[in-house]
Symmetry: C2
Subunit: 215 residues, 2 copies
DNA sequence: ACTTGTTTTAAACATTTGTTTAATATAGTT
DNA sequence: AACTATATTAAACAAATGTTTAAAACAAGT
């Protein structure tokens, strides 16, 4: 019955290319259509395989999704942490983070909408509440902010607000592309250009506002 | 066969409470679960009616959805236009718009995610590409911006970028509530407070940046 | 060649889906 | 009261869904 489950737990799978194929296909399909927007068969077909194989390797559509989703979150928070844990100044961290985030999102434009969306669909899918928070906290970036605030280098503002300001201005422009194009006449190529110039505005605006230091 | 369609076209429906009940129920269900996240039967049940009635009044789930969605967009753009067409200064318009948008979104927190999401799901659902753009353009707010820019009162920035800055900072904080709560430990009541103080930051930041005029 | 354990497939299963049908109830008109 | 058009319902339909089963293909060891 649960042979493969046991094997997986014991780490005995030979990590076959099939499993990876399914995961890659599932990733692509889930990202663009969401959990409820696609079927198991669609994923199997995208991987060029039988439906039963999907459940053979991942037990259920739900389980497969959870794995993909949690890796998406990992990747997402990971890129944040990667920059925060450097020894740069806050302004540098902020600037570089926004730069990287815009570039990253240009390559994975479906990701933010996917995460926001699925977090809203199933509130329980918030995995390990504190796991990600701790990761970020361990970088010491919060202390760095509080220190800067006490020294008057940074404005008094809730740290959650800072996160919100950053994510809002990085992610929303990507998520809302189709919506923006439905209320304003902007062809695809031009939207990419818009994002580039928008990035510069976001950086300047946030740095100026948070640090009261003209660039 | 298409009796009711003919009646609707001819405006002969007595606008029964049943039709409204279905629409209200559909609105609530679609908003919170999206088109693919719910079934016709779920909508019927929420309205306390038979499934067949939903199709009797709206022909299909798709058609019902289109009606709801396009009204959501109307409402959304309408509130924008309402403020833009006043005789206020740009700074006042911006400030009031953000104030109202935050209040509006506090009452309809599912709306932005719903619109963004469904616009991404079916790119064809972008109804009447120019309709909304014209509505906004007719308010003359774009000319007002260009004038302010030529007078040096406002920074040089693409108007699409301005829209993006505003919507990003108003909508994302609401859309991402569940996501934020899964990476930071913020209870519900506190998140509402956070949004209030965040609103003030957004106003100050945007006014300062766009108009180079300290409040 | 036989056995054993793993991978893959086609087919089946029970539910759920959007939609339609055919019958019943309701109300208004003559 | 009978007729008619509308409103509502229960039941049915075909298609799609997530999942399981049972059999086949494959590989490795003996």
């Amino acid at each position: 019955m649960f042979k493969f489950a046991a094997r997986k737990i014991l780490g005995l799978t030979k990590d076959t290319t099939t499993e990876k194929k399914i995961k890659e296909a599932a990733k692509a399909v889930f990202y663009s259509k969401g959990f409820e927007g696609c079927s198991s068969r669609e994923i199997a077909q995208a991987a060029g395989l039988n439906v039963a194989l999907v459940n053979y390797y991942f037990r259920s559509k739900n389980k497969l999704f959870q794995e993909i989703f949690s890796e998406a979150l990992d990747e997402f928070v990971g890129s944040m942490v990667q920059i925060f844990q450097t020894e740069l100044s806050l302004i540098e961290k902020l600037t570089i983070f926004i730069e990287k985030e815009f570039d990253f999102l240009a390559r994975h434009p479906e990701l933010p909408n996917f995460i926001i969306n699925e977090t809203n669909r199933d509130e329980n899918c918030a995995i390990d509440e504190s796991k990600y928070f701790n990761k970020v906290q361990e970088t010491g970036v919060f202390e760095q902010m509080k220190l800067a605030q006490s020294k008057g280098e940074m404005i008094e503002i809730d740290i959650a607000s800072v996160i919100l300001l950053i994510l809002s201005n990085c992610q929303y422009p990507v998520m809302s592309k189709n919506f923006m194009q439905s209320i304003m006449p902007i062809p695809n190529e031009q939207y990419a250009l818009l994002l580039q110039s928008h990035k510069a505005h976001v950086i300047e605006m946030l740095v100026n506002y948070l640090f009261k230091t003209k660039i």
